[in-house]
């Protein structure tokens, strides 16, 4: 499992390329000069464009962490299942966008709407046929089942598509970049961050501030009693799983133009996402969002300050948080 973290090197290499690109295209000569004169002391020679470049990469990663861990939080709350298939479903989201484009001629914007529905429906199928049978069993069974599902789904995709990536183009409306003065902001990346933040906020709002959300929160606490009030809780659980999985599908579409579409794209990401979930507090909605974005940024900063540690910084944070707050930053100690 840990071997698969290899891909983060790819991300980092990508990040290094971005940094070089940004450094070469930065309008400020003075900055380049400064960077060139103090190459061995990056911590003191603040190369703002490289710093903001890494922060942006961090925010992008954070967007994916937040979307994925948010879905995991919803699923954990209602199903009591740690959904190890989440990374595979994220990958299916990216493939779904790829198929929609190449088999049905449905472009990015159509895929953005259809993919969460299709992947969510697949999730509902998994819940109805398999997961709901584990409802009253130990966490471990759900974990084993979803882990197995992840391996099967990834294995099938690898079998048909190999391990290399399939290209997915940035939609024409979102190509190009904005010159912010201190850095270039690629439009597509800005879009990913903004849309993720909006979706996360809307989900948080729906769960914490609406009457439907009150039902979800109550069912998380005491499903038997909510059901005894006349609510069809099993159907709510199925839909919640579909929704959480749909978020993973959405993240997959968003990722398709950034990473390539690869069978293992989710497997690499999901390990960090689980660390995010643990840091934020298992099942905490706000915790998953805040921690997701924050850890992306921390990772980005680490890449700038001390790139060698960027692979591990999330896990170091996890260890530190667990020492101080075993239930996670936003977790309710029970």
């Amino acid at each position: 499992m840990w071997g698969k973290r290899l891909n983060f090197r790819v991300w980092i290499r990508g990040a290094a390329l971005t940094r070089r690109f940004l450094a070469e295209t930065t309008p400020s000569l003075a900055l380049r000069e400064r960077a060139a004169h103090q190459p061995s002391l990056p911590m003191f020679a603040i190369n703002t464009s490289a710093l903001f470049g890494q922060l942006l990469v961090g925010l992008i990663n954070g967007s994916f962490y937040a979307l994925l861990s948010l879905g995991l939080a919803v699923i954990f709350g209602l199903l009591n299942i740690i959904n190890f298939a989440h990374g595979a479903l994220f990958m299916m989201g990216a493939f779904c966008a790829y198929f929609l484009l190449n088999l049905a001629g449905v472009g990015y914007w159509g895929a953005l709407v259809l993919t969460p529905v299709i992947v969510g429906a697949f999730g509902i199928f998994l819940e109805r046929t398999m997961l709901h049978r584990l409802a009253n069993l130990d966490h471990l069974y759900g974990l084993l089942l979803t882990f197995g599902l992840a391996l099967i789904i990834q294995g099938l995709f690898q079998n048909y598509f190999g391990s290399s990536g399939l290209p997915y183009a940035i939609p024409p409306e979102l190509t190009g970049a904005q010159n912010l003065g201190f850095m270039f902001l690629p439009n597509y990346r800005a879009w990913v961050v903004v849309l993720s933040a909006i979706v996360c906020f809307a989900t948080w709002f729906a769960i914490e501030k609406t009457s439907l959300g009150a039902l979800l929160r109550a069912a998380t606490e005491n499903p038997a009693l909510v059901r005894a009030f006349g609510v069809n809780v099993p159907r709510m659980i199925t839909l919640a799983y579909g929704f959480g999985v749909g978020l993973a599908g959405l993240a997959g579409v968003l990722a398709a133009p950034i990473n390539q579409v690869r069978p293992l794209m989710g497997a690499d990401l999901i390990i960090v996402v689980f660390a995010v979930v643990v840091i934020g507090g298992m099942g905490s909605i706000l915790g998953s969002i805040v921690t997701g974005f924050a850890l992306g940024v921390i990772e980005g900063l680490t890449k700038y300050i001390y790139p060698e540690a960027s692979n591990t910084v999330v896990f170091v944070v996890m260890a530190l948080v667990l020492m101080v707050k075993p239930a996670g930053l936003f977790g309710r100690a029970s």
Binding site: A214, N222, A224, L225, R227, F229
Partner: protein, 235 residues
């Protein structure tokens, strides 16, 4: 079966896993009355309420509500027939504020009380509407637990030991509330250990022991049965 029976429980058996808890419970509740289940700790009173509500997975026998057999129905279906429960542990949701707790149970029929009339019954809740549910005192939590099942349109209210652990003033208030609810047409199935409290509100008593009803009498027969009752309840 009496003509006016709203709820008819016949030979009800229930299990938690392998343990057989109810061994053939028989009783009925008439429309508009306050029926009370008495019995020592562990007699099976809570299990009886939960079984009627469909919250015990393994159950057998017959529970007929308004002519509908509910023994095979899920608890959400049973609730939508018009039965509501106020559980022994109160079941106030910690992640919901008082207003959300109050508005949580969905309306299942017309005819429930309006929020205003509910708050008139429980004025203490009025100022606490935006407090977190579990920040309330025990008495307030109990009131909230009763209040939230009044607006759904349910006609049979099952209250599991609503006076447990509460101060005498609050117990008195809950007693008055139960009488008002009866006057407004609710039928109430009450579980009580506090026999003195039950005698102020009950029309009929069912005494439970070891998962069975072992005796039944009306409130008017209370004094004649006092001695027996003391023996049953060990008080």
């Amino acid at each position: 079966m009496s003509e006016a029976a709203l709820l008819n429980v016949k030979n009800l058996e229930a299990w938690y896993g392998e343990s057989h808890i109810l061994h053939g419970v028989d009783f009925s509740v008439r429309k508009g009355e306050v029926a009370t289940l008495l019995g020592r700790n562990g007699a099976g009173k809570t299990t009886t309420l939960k079984s009627i509500m469909g919250m015990v997975a393994k159950r057998r026998g017959s529970v007929i509500y308004e002519g509908v057999e509910t023994i095979g129905l899920s608890s959400d279906r049973i609730a939508r027939l018009g039965i509501a429960i106020c559980p022994e542990e109160r079941g106030i949701f910690a992640s919901l504020d008082v207003r959300e707790n109050l508005l949580l149970p969905p309306k299942i029929k017309s005819g429930g009380l309006a929020i205003e009339s509910i708050l008139d019954l429980f004025p203490n809740l009025r100022e606490r509407m935006s407090s977190q549910g579990t920040k309330l005192s025990g008495g307030e939590q109990q009131m909230l637990a009763i209040a939230r099942i009044l607006r759904t349109g349910a006609t049979l209210l099952m209250l599991d030991e609503p006076t447990e652990g509460l101060a005498p003033v609050i117990i008195e208030q809950i007693g008055l509330t139960i009488k008002k609810l009866k006057e407004s047409g609710f039928t109430i199935l009450l579980v009580e250990q506090n026999f003195r409290f039950a005698s102020t509100v009950a029309d009929r008593y069912f005494v439970m022991e070891h998962g069975k009803i072992i005796d039944t009498f009306a409130n008017s027969e209370l004094s004649a049965n006092m001695e027996k009752l003391h023996a049953y309840l060990g008080v």
